[in-house]
Symmetry: C2
Subunit: 326 residues, 2 copies
């Protein structure tokens, strides 16, 4: 908390930049005490997740700091959404490289302030540390399970449909644009793709609304193929998807980004989930209510692994399953 | 969670080293899902804190990794204790420098396993990231407030006694020994002091037991003078302490460590707290029950700041109020 930043002998950044982010919760004590009070008198179970971003690995040094801070928060909100939880509070441990000025920190705080308003989440704990080496942001987020048990990865049954939200591959395309590797895109499409890479939109409305309807769920961060592989393994099944049905943006369509790259690229932060075929109307109704685009892309079946099929039902070889974020 | 480590394209360390730390809580899902379930059906309010340690700033590169991991956890447990909360769960974001081998991580996990058994706390979320630069451990800990409202810094009243646990200045003395600067100590005293620096003992029993008795509390991490200054400011009062009454270890007594250095050195992780004089028996009874040594060192009075007095009641000048941890 506040005292920790003074302890580093460098700056008292928390009081200036981060304490204002904590004012809407009295239990945060303005980040001036040893810790924060987190009231749970409603008795609803909570979901906790932690994810760290490191400069040079998860974001680029030239990425705008407000966006970097927002991404650090949003990847955690995406994890909460994947479990069916509504974001509530978060903590931030921020490592500030020696060569950054006050404005770099102020920009991060501005980005977080905007996202707090957008997602209804509040900072309740912070620590800043200086020194040599790259920037790092470690966020721990806590969300509320309002409607029932959490959505897990392992709940899919054979015959369940496989669904995804939004469009797939835009994060990877945006990274290609940042690297100067993408071709075929106009200026608006380039901007769109870079925004998708820098600033994911966690599906915080849909995730909680899927509790009771979806049988399994996770967020697409490692790439659709790798993540559906996690879901299939946890469920003891195989996943089968139709490549042509995997939704893509206009930008992805216009680009030179190969289809087999698109479905292994990471950083989409969409949700992938399963539900029995007799709940298709329920899924579509929930999607409409939360204004979230959803697309059915395949099904779960007995077996293991993930199979990608072309229009004729022939397997498409997908080589790469890892994903590097910069 | 688990998927994140794979994402870094480096190792799947979480599954091997950290998932075993999560087995005692079913809601941690073995760290294999997007996030963990945190049940709060008891309705007791929780306390949340986050603190990060960076190599080169908060610990030395030659500190044993098991101790480093334990210290990262314990400084957070100390914050929980200072608020009156009993440790329950924690998350860890670990940045692993490129030059560390698997054994370095395994040693950290062993240290955490020992502390989990000691403090009854369980890992429920983890993230590991690689890359260049120094090691960093960001821990977020959650504790349970079983007995009432949290202990705050700002609750002291004029006339309250000032108490501390344990002995003061051993963390700073241990750092001096590590630096080769301390003189006058025998081998056992040197070992004692280094252990105190590397491995604080958070007062997890006493803190919660002081709820209802102490009027204000915090942990001594920035140095006694600086931390009592925080408590005094938050309470709108002055703190007055008698230097001769500030408890010191045999090692501190034998050393060349000046008394005025001892009370500004940090890393003690003892508790400093206040209580009305008519609760002295209650404080001593609670201390006995939790087997925690406590010493009365001064009192709160109208005014501001902190005054250190010698045996004759004359002010002792204390210059340094900052503290560097390495």
């Amino acid at each position: 908390m506040a005292a920790r930043s003074a302890r580093s002998g460098e700056f008292d950044l928390i009081a200036r930049h981060f304490a204002p982010l904590a004012t809407s919760r009295s239990g945060a004590f303005g980040l001036t005490d040893d810790a924060a009070l987190f009231g749970v008198s409603d008795g609803a179970d909570r979901i906790v997740t932690t994810d760290a971003l490191v400069e040079g690995t998860h974001f680029r040094p030239d990425d705008p700091p407000d966006r970097v801070a927002q991404k650090a928060l949003r990847v955690n909100l995406s994890d909460l959404a994947a479990m069916g939880a509504t974001p509530e509070v978060y903590t931030l441990a921020l490592r500030i490289p020696e060569d950054r000025n006050d404005e770099w920190v102020a920009a991060m705080a501005r980005g977080l302030a905007a996202d707090q308003a957008r997602y209804g989440v509040t900072l309740i704990g912070g620590d800043t540390v200086g020194g040599a080496g790259p920037a790092m942001l470690a966020v721990t987020a806590i969300g509320r399970l309002a409607h029932g048990p959490p959505l897990r990865r392992g709940g899919a049954a054979a015959g369940d449909d496989v669904w995804v939200t939004g469009t797939i591959g835009d994060g990877g395309l945006g990274l290609q644009v940042c690297r100067g590797e993408a071709t075929g895109l106009d200026a608006a499409q380039r901007r769109f793709a870079v925004d998708r890479y820098r600033l994911p939109e966690p599906r915080v409305e849909l995730g909680p609304a899927l509790v009771g309807t979806a049988t399994a769920c996770l967020d697409v961060s490692d790439g659709l193929v790798a993540d559906l592989g996690h879901l299939a393994r946890a469920s003891g099944l195989a996943a089968e998807i139709l490549l042509a049905d995997v939704p893509r943006s206009d930008a992805a369509e216009a680009s030179s980004f190969p289809e087999t790259e698109r479905i292994v690229a990471g950083d989409d932060y969409e949700l992938a989930f399963t539900a029995p075929p007799d709940r298709r109307d329920a899924v579509r109704g929930t999607a409409r209510k939360t204004e979230t685009p959803v697309t059915r892309i395949g099904r779960m079946r007995a077996g293991s692994g993930i199979q990608v099929l072309d229009r004729d039902g022939a397997p498409v070889p997908v080589a790469r399953t890892g994903w590097r974020h910069r």
